[in-house]
Amino acid sequence: MAVLKVKFTKTRRDKLAQILWILNWISVVTGVILFSLGLFLKVELKKREELMAEKDIQYVPNMLIAVGLIACVINFLGGKICYDCVDTTNFLRWKLIMLPYIVCTFFFTLCVLVGALMCYSMHWELEEALNLGLTQAMRFYKDTDMPGRCFLKHTVDMLQIQFQCCGNSGYKDWFQIQWISNRYLDMSKKEVVDRLRSNVEGKFLMDGVPFSCCNINSPRPCIQQQITNNSAHFNYEHQTEDQNLWMKGCREALLEYYTHLLQSIGLTVLITWLFELSVLTGVRYLQTSLENMLRQGDPNSESDGWLLENSLMETARTNLSIIKSLGKGNQIDTADNGDPNIDVPSTSKAHYGPDNVPPKQKTETN
């Protein structure tokens, strides 16, 4: 009993082929869109790779790029096939290829779905990478004289200005880091030496933040030094002051940005997947109806098209036994197949000529 059987007249088959030709070309365009979305994501991740620790998150855009390219090729081939399917003689060219093509496309649409789901699952790895990366970057903020780290000050400043954030989780992260290099500390001053001595690791820590943490919406000039000391500034209470510095942490800001991007891309990929699935269904119907038409012999007759010839269970069983026998192909135990060197007792009756008399056994006479 076939799954979802539909009757097709000749005109309906022709129309289906034409529609599928257009849909395949639209799918080529969506393949290009997928490719460019992957490229865009790759560029965005690479832009801020200095702030991300060494985690392998590039597999997501790479997957999208590969899937996009394959989609273009598969759907281009599909377009050619559907174009030829309008004419029965042209269809014969593709007859043997169509079923493998459909199976390939089915597995390919699974890859598209996996790509979409990857976009949503990347969130946690990204958070991990950003957390470690930002901690490192802030630690090396002061090392503008070391090759390999000299650009980190500029990167962190630009990040905080652009994303309107401060520190890793908040501005207090800067209080635990020495972000002023020893080169710019006046060691002759008593306060500086005292502060260095009072710290276990000899770091110069203070309750101050870099200028890039300053909030442009603040009605008063920015307070960057002695932030926790209310008496150091006139009319200032640091517990209630939320306009002075950026309150958001940079990890949260970057994560929000990337999550929003990934959600949009994931949605687009899901829509592309649904579209590809519908194209695949159409091509399957076209293939089965054309094969049935050939079986009947009359190009102008009606024919049935279906998704599966038998029910889902039977098809699964058939395919499983095919795969099993493919596996058995190389085993030596098979009695029928065999190696001609093994002595196999013949089960068939030998035919000894017209009277069917076995030849006399020659006995050895001495």
Partner: protein, 361 residues
Amino acid sequence: MAVGKITFTKTEREKLAEVLWLLNWISVVTGAILFGLGLFLKIEIQKWQEVMSEQGILYVPHMLITTGLAACGINYLGSKICLDCADTNKFLRWKLVMMPYIVCTFFFTACVLAGALMCYSVRSQLEESLYLGLRNTMRFYKDTDTPGRCYLKKTLDLLQIQFQCCGNADYRDWFQIQWVSNRYLDMTDSAVVDRVRSNVDGKYLMDSVPFSCCSTLSSRPCIQHNLSNPAAHAHYDEQSQQLNLWRRGCQQALLDHYTGIMQSIGLTVLLIWLFEVLLVLTGVRYLQTAMENVIRLGDPESESEGWILENSLAETACYNFNIIKNLGKCYQVDDDPNINVPTAAADREVPSHQVRVNVAS
């Protein structure tokens, strides 16, 4: 003696009409481009209008927008005319309109040229406007509690961060302005009171700049205070001083930004003007004269001549001048029929002789 006379066969005329139809449609597109450029310039100027003292330079984008729309309309009409000119019968419909159309288009292209030249000439007005506007904005930087000025601090901070500039001409402009509001000054502190008293206008001035002047390219944390005294900071050498703050003034930065935009726009408009005048207008003029000569000759299949001007430039100028003068003379009082005008018989009038009359006494 005609200017630029060319002979056209029938096929050449038809081909010219087709080519002109295509060129007119391209001109509609360039008109849309002109409109788009004007809109873009208007938006760019309005983005930073708070730091400009007056909006006078908006006449440049307005000119471009109007010219762009007019170009679309004129060239659309032109394409319809040229499409009909391929056929002599249809041309008769447009015969009377074509000459006024060409004159209109000629004056319109003069407007396009004026628009292009305006883009280059607006620089000095912009410089003045920016200087005054920035000075006022810096003065009101601290007034974040005054309605109408409360957003100026944010605007100026954003400007300095985005354009990488500081102050009007340079960072020392901040030394002459009180940019810290009295609300945040501790008037009980003797240092503060001394500083306020020592200033003639009672302003609290200091050699410091706002945080938005800090350069992100500096290799050391930003030094914003005590800028006149380099010795107050550890290892604050010449190179550190160069990199510490943005060195460029915001007037220069904005001027460069807008001059760059307007030069590109002006160049594009000039190219569009050349295209309109050299190709489209000249082609339409040739087509018009050729078609009119065909009608004058009577035979639609014959060759005809096309030209730019029927007589030489000097004669055409004289002729048009006379037309304009006669138009002007229309209303002079000499022609009033109510005035007694001596008839022509008067010139045959014989002078009266002295007739002796014998008076009998």
